[in-house]
């Protein structure tokens, strides 16, 4: 039988001399009707370039296909040569026979056009529909991706919808004309884990309905298990291994595949939590950080002069304490208030109410900036590109009124060595380092002042999976060595499982469950924690039927003077409690 798509020895290069700059170096695969192929790899592996080459969008991204063959079986059974097709021929294929969705739903839709217009466009282009017919078709397309109130939403512009909604709109556009092949390029990477589960469920369901084939690109091999029939693992532009899903996951041959499966954090429902440094029963030691009744509100004003009409309750009564040498992970989705909590602890945002105790002494939010240091999410953006590493490491010392003397320099050198960077790094600039190395630099910078608490705000989220594992290892080592307390903010349950001693689950500005990591992850009690954990993909659950859940996160905007009801807690274990639910 002729496959739907056949790719042979695909080669793609960039720049003026594409042959010498190949990013994809001889990739071959076949995709049968109704089959899902997952392409797995880290950034730079060539997986996205491969995807963009199939519908030849790579021509517009500075890439050139330098060799190989790509054949698509058309709906009428004819064979379409994707390599030699002219641009007008390709526009007839794109959207009609090959649909595509992308990583960033927020930027993938045109900000100045309504989503209705953008969906209708597909029908206009490939079905020749106009006017009311096109609008009706667009409404059906939105219904199909389970967007409630579709008729009204058609008139929305993208800025009025959430990321998850926008990705559904993207799916509606990609599937508008029932293409037989959908290319999904990391479609859930930018989304929260529960939204990811919804999108995955939707894709699985639509695939069943339409019988389309899918190429699913991801860096997360855990996500693959739920959806793929076949897996292709890419590294440095080559397909190092491909085969049936079970064969790859259970019997990986290539060392890189084995590395992805074993060395990279995968979520294991609380079976992979840390065993070191558990809390002592006797409360002898002082907590390194104690937060009491933290509240952060941002007033809402209709205009600059008018009075506040309400407030965004970003953090609404958060309490926790953190012992020396302990990691407390704060997990939650975007907008839940987890980053605001971290920033409030550092005094980067002003807390409306609440107190912090750092070490033994009571400190205001501003004073606590000294023993508390922070590592940010994006190592590319959080190092000043014009400063040498030496200046970057000297900055915290100077900022706190210290002098850069021999002692400081010795500390720089030893910290650099400690975080695994070469000694000669001091004279270099941030751009000379890779993402993982930069995050090591950020860690070294945070440690320059010998803090007792380090706030890690999604500190490994921007890193590739295998780099992530190494940075986590480093963090654990440093914690043991210096007795550091970590406040680890993350949305990634697999990462949290590896590093946390305790976990606080935050939802809509409030902690809903807190306790030791094993208990929270293996026996979640609050419904939100359950939902969060159920949404995490794992390698164990294969061809899973994702449940479609369209509940919306409640609004954090409250009327002026609103106070939440006092929390009532239910104790489940020695160190595990959950908020009672209404």
């Amino acid at each position: 039988m002729i496959p739907l798509l056949s790719v042979r020895d695909l080669r793609v290069g960039f720049g003026r001399n594409p042959q010498a700059n190949e990013v994809v170096r001889g990739v071959s695969f076949d995709l049968a009707d109704g089959e899902t192929l997952a392409i797995v790899g880290e950034s730079g592996s060539g997986k996205s370039v491969t995807a963009l080459s199939i519908n030849r969008l790579i021509d517009f991204s500075g890439g050139r296909i330098t060799g190989g063959a790509m054949k698509l079986k058309r709906a009428d059974g004819g064979i379409f040569d994707l390599m030699t097709a002219t641009e007008p021929q390709l526009t007839g294929i794109r959207g009609a026979e090959i649909g595509m969705i992308f990583q960033e739903p927020m930027t993938s839709l045109n900000p100045v056009l309504t989503i209705g217009t953008q969906i209708e466009e597909s029908f206009r282009l490939h079905r020749g529909l106009t006017g009311r017919q096109a609008t009706a078709a667009a409404k059906d397309a939105l219904d199909r991706v389970r967007i409630p109130d579709a008729a009204r939403r058609l008139k929305y512009t993208p800025n009025q919808l959430s990321g998850g909604m926008l990705q559904r709109v993207m799916i509606a556009i990609a599937l508008a004309c029932n293409p037989r092949l959908l290319i999904a390029d990391e479609p859930t990477t930018a989304l929260d884990v529960t939204v990811q589960a919804q999108i995955m469920a939707l894709l699985a369901e639509l695939k069943r309905e339409t019988g389309m084939s899918m190429i699913f690109i991801t860096h997360d091999i855990g996500l693959v298990a739920g959806i793929a029939d076949k897996v292709m693992v890419m590294q440095s532009g080559k397909a190092v291994e491909q085969g049936e899903l079970n064969q790859i996951l259970d019997n990986a041959r290539h060392p890189y595949t084995q590395h992805l499966l074993q060395d990279v954090p995968h979520f294991a429902n609380g079976r992979a939590t840390r065993v070191d440094g558990q809390r002592d029963k006797g409360a002898g030691t002082e907590p390194a950080l104690k937060v009491d009744g933290l509240v952060v509100r941002f007033p809402l004003k209709s205009s600059f002069f008018s009075r506040a009409t309400g407030a965004v309750h970003a953090v609404d009564g958060v309490d926790f304490d953190l012992m020396p040498g302990e990691t407390l992970a704060i997990v939650g989705e975007s907008g839940s208030g987890k980053s605001t909590t971290a920033r409030a602890v550092l005094g980067l945002v002003r807390s409306t109410r609440g107190s912090f105790t750092v070490g033994a002494r009571k400190a205001s939010a501003a004073q606590s900036a000294l023993p508390v240091q922070m590592v940010f999410q994006n190592p590319y953006a959080s190092l000043n590109p014009r400063l040498t590493i030496e200046s970057i490491l000297a900055e915290p010392v100077i900022a706190t009124g210290g002098r850069v003397d021999a002692g400081t320099r010795a500390r720089m050198a030893s910290l650099l060595e400690r975080v695994g960077l070469p000694r000669n790094s001091l004279e270099r600039y941030p751009h000379e380092f890779s993402g993982g190395q930069r995050q090591r630099l950020c860690i070294a910078r945070a440690l320059m002042l010998n803090p007792s608490v380090v706030v890690l705000d999604e500190a490994v989220s921007a890193l590739d999976v295998s780099v992530q594992a190494k940075v986590l290892e480093l963090l654990v080592d440093l914690q043991r060595e210096f007795g550091l307390a970590y406040l680890f903010i993350s949305h990634d349950m697999a990462v949290v499982e590896r590093i946390a001693h305790r976990i606080a689950v935050i939802y809509a500005g409030q902690i809903v469950e807190i306790g030791d990591a094993t208990s929270v992850l293996s026996k979640p009690k609050h419904s939100y924690t359950k939902k969060l954990i159920a949404a995490v993909p794992t390698i164990d659950r294969r061809h899973e039927h994702f449940e479609l859940d369209t509940r919306q996160v409640p609004s954090l905007v409250r009327p002026q003077g609103f106070e939440p009801a006092a929390a009532r807690w239910v104790q489940f274990g020695r160190d595990h409690m959950a908020r009672t639910e209404a």
Binding site: F60, S61, P88, I93, G95, E121, H126, A174
Partner: protein, 319 residues
Amino acid sequence: MNYLMRRLAAFPLVLLGVSILVFVAIRMVPGDSITAMLGTEAGLLTPAQRDSLAAYFGIDQPWFVQYWRWISGILHGNLGISVTYGRPVLDVILERFPLTLELAVLSMIIALIVGLPAGIFAATHNEKPSDLGVRVVAMIGQSTPSFVLGLLIIYTLSAGFGVLPAMGEFAPLWQDPLRNLGQLILPAITLGFAFAASVTRISRSAMLDVLSDDYVRTARSKGAPARSVIWRHALPNALIPVVTLSGIEFGYLLGGAVIVEQIYALPGLGRMVLDAILQRDYALVQGSVLFIALNFMIVNLLVDLAYVALDPRIRLGEQ
């Protein structure tokens, strides 16, 4: 609507500031209107004659009295009497303004008709010879002074084709449209050339930015043909900087274009203001500067409204 009211409410404040600035500035220039008017003959005046002339023009009073008289006059719609023309300032300005407005509008139309497509063309042919060609012409257009271009146009037409730009008495648009256009088209081209060059450069760079945006890739993945990708998806997103630039340039042009008016012998606002300054015609200078400032503010407001029309993410009146 609320927003519009608030913006309009700010107008008098800005105008008050401008009025003080211009009132002080023009009086800091050495010389007075009597000397400027009578030239060397001013020396022949007896002190008594001079005093009575000064009293007639009101310049014998302390500056704050003069300022107060002027401002209270404005509140009654009276901008004062021009010394040089012997007529109300507003009449003089309004007589000159249609030409300046028409010239500015024509230049902008030329700039947008030429510059926008040229910029888009260059952006879609990035780093190809045709892009380089457009960029070189745009660079020349931006760096050529208008008097050089104006003289070149006149010289080429008269020496090469024996055609002279229509001179003589200026014909307003509503009286003799053809003759009016004949008089204004060359000055408009002269002004529009540099304007078009700026529009080309800014629309090229804005389009280049936008063309690498994700939603353009999405449009292509839907199968949208190149024409639709450029005009429907990319251009509306690239227009904001073009609108900003056009607004500023248009605002400047409404203040008159002294050099081009001079070369083509056009009675526009620019030459009038220049003459008024040279003649120390205080009332006329003050009045026309206020008028120009008001125009600028109106143009700015229109630009802001255009942003809202172009981009649904921009909301009026929010911080």
